[in-house]
Structure formats: C-alpha cells, structure tokens
Symmetry: C2
C-alpha cells in the first residue's frame, strides 16, 4: 500500500464535506431552505443516469457523465455559487474558479488531480457529448424546481421567460426531447403566472 | 416521444427532492448540523469512483456501483434513517423499507422501476462485488466523519470500539487496503479518546 497516496485521497474526501455548506439560489421544492451544492450534485448525477435514453448523441459514456456531475461544482468550495443570471459576478467567475480548481484538485494524488481537473474543464467547455448531456442536467434540475415552487427564484430575481429560454438552451444541446418538454414547461409557467413574458 | 413515460420520470425526479430532508446521525465535519441522505449519497458515490483502485474484486462495474449508491437510501424518504447501532429500530427496518421501495420505485416507468428496485435489493444483500464495494463506501464515510469530529456521534451514543469494528466489517469485504486503514483509524481513535475501548 502507498500510504501517502491513500492519505491524499482521504484528505480530499474530507475536503469534499465543505460542498454541503455552499448554497445555491434554488429553494428546495417544499421551499423550506435553499439547496446546497452537494445535494444538487447528487440530484443531477442521478437524473443523468435516469434520463440517459433522451441523449441526442450516441454512445454517451455515462460513467464519465456521472463523475463529471459529481465533481462539477467542487470549485465552488472556494469560489462560491455564482447565480446564473448575475451578470456582474459572472464576469470574474472563471478566474475565481480556476484558482479554486488549482487548490482543490491538488489535494489528490497528481494523476487523479489531473484527471479530475481535466474532467471539470471538459464540463465547463461543453463540447464533448458527455459535457453537453451533463450541462443539460445541470440546467434542467433548477428549472423543475422553479416550476414546482411556482417560480419562487424567478420571482425573487425578476427573471423573464426570454432569459430562462436563453440560459437553458444547453438542454437543447443535450436532448431534443427534453428541450421540447422544457419549452412547454416555460410556456406553462408564463400561463400560470410563475414567470413573466 | 412517449409523454407518459417522460412525465413519470420527471415525477420521480421531483420526489427525489424529499431525500434532502432525511437526516442521518452523522454530523458534518464542522459539526454545525447533521448530514442529510442526499448529501451522503453524493459523497459515497464520489468516494467509490475515487477509491475504485482499492476494490479487492476484479472488474467491478463502477457505473452500477455509482447508480447503486445514488439510490441506496431512497427508501428512507418513507422509512426514515435507522441508526446503525439502534437494535430496536433495526428489527422492523426491512418491513418499513420494503413498503417504501414499493411506493417510491412505482413512480418510475415499470422497466426502470424494476431495474432500480432490483439494484437496491442487490445493495441490501451485499453479495455481488458491486454491492460489497458500495457497502464499504457507505460505511467508510461516517467513520471518517466520526474521526474528524473527535468521535462526536460515537460519544453521543456511547459506542465502543468493538461495536465500530463489528459494524464496519463490510469495509473489509470491499477492500483489504481500506480495512487496514480503518483498523488503524479505530485504534488511533481509542488512543486519542474519541472512542472507548
């Protein structure tokens, strides 16, 4: 046994605990509190495996998608959550998140640190079929939350349907079936007054 | 598109949100509050992918392990968390959890409901190499938490080192390297006063 290697991995596992303290702008469906990044990562990873039949691309590697989604928000341990509609904070998001990636993935043994960092960068670039499908799940979850809380975070931030369509277009790059579903959901949200036109 | 199928899957995804309200007996490492099942499921799924090199069995299917761990606690939405050292509650655990599985997995389209239920039963039986490895992760996480909170939940419930060794022996069925690590951790916990002999 390589004791140093295993200890680095355990140190990383302990570090992961901090993701449970990073809160998002999305309330839970019973609206009691905001969702944290660890719960969100669990939810989207499971969604990806559940909805894989709708991926437009063929031969999507689901193990890569799952790992990608399990780690996609780790940089927020240092960089915090950046609300998708916050233009100001989105300007330096990349700088803050790169510094975080440098620190956090360095806790791992070098080979795994490189693998995880590269998988996170792949997710951020949204070019590979795995990254596109993962990004679609990452957007679909808060949308379902907003719909099921009668638009709570849309209303709180005064978001319009054109913004929701624009910000969620990645779902369309993942799956035409899910995008069709989402467009209907957005139209229904406008009809029900959860979201302004 | 089969609209009914997709709607069942979306209903299941919305139902999943409830797992974020089921609390475990393990405090987070900064000891601010107890961990919930959704966070725990995220943590152990990621641990499995991170520590897969230590599985004693060959050709462990990691995608199965990940899905198994992502869903392993879903029955607790109805059945609640049963503390591993609570002998009283563990007596009717299986009855309560089977009823929960019946309701929760029935939300899914029948083929996926059967697949998920069967994967959950496989996890519970701990016979396949995937289930053994998954069970090892499920036990390792709270152990690392207890160590890193100076034995908080061990102290709260007056747990002894012999009980910890007995309850965590599944880690030994998953990985001899990790079991060696864990035995040292338990001995160190006794030496440091986190756990009584």
């Amino acid at each position: 046994m390589n004791e140093k290697r295993l200890q680095s991995q355990i140190d990383f596992i302990v570090e992961l605990d901090k993701l449970k303290h990073i809160f998002r702008q999305t309330p839970l469906i019973n609206d009691s509190r905001y969702e944290n990044d660890a719960e969100h990562s669990w939810h989207v990873a499971l969604m990806a495996l559940l909805l894989s039949e709708y991926a437009d691309a063929e031969d999507v590697n689901l193990l890569r998608v799952a790992l990608m989604l399990l780690i996609h928000d780790l940089v927020e341990i240092d960089a915090g959550d950046t609300f998708v509609y916050d233009e100001e904070k989105n300007r330096d998001k990349s700088t803050r998140e790169n510094a975080a990636a440098q620190r956090i993935f360095s806790i791992l043994p070098p080979d795994q640190g490189r693998e995880f960092r590269s998988l996170w960068e792949e997710f951020e670039k949204r070019e590979s079929r795995e990254a596109k499908f993962a990004a679609g799940m990452d957007r679909l979850e808060p949308l379902l939350y907003n719909y099921n809380t009668k638009g709570s975070s849309w209303k709180e931030h005064g978001i319009k349907s054109s913004q929701v369509l624009e910000r969620n277009r990645h779902i369309g790059e993942a799956s035409s079936v899910l995008w069709e579903y989402v467009k209907n959901l957005i139209a229904d949200s406008v009809a029900k007054g959860y979201l302004t036109e």
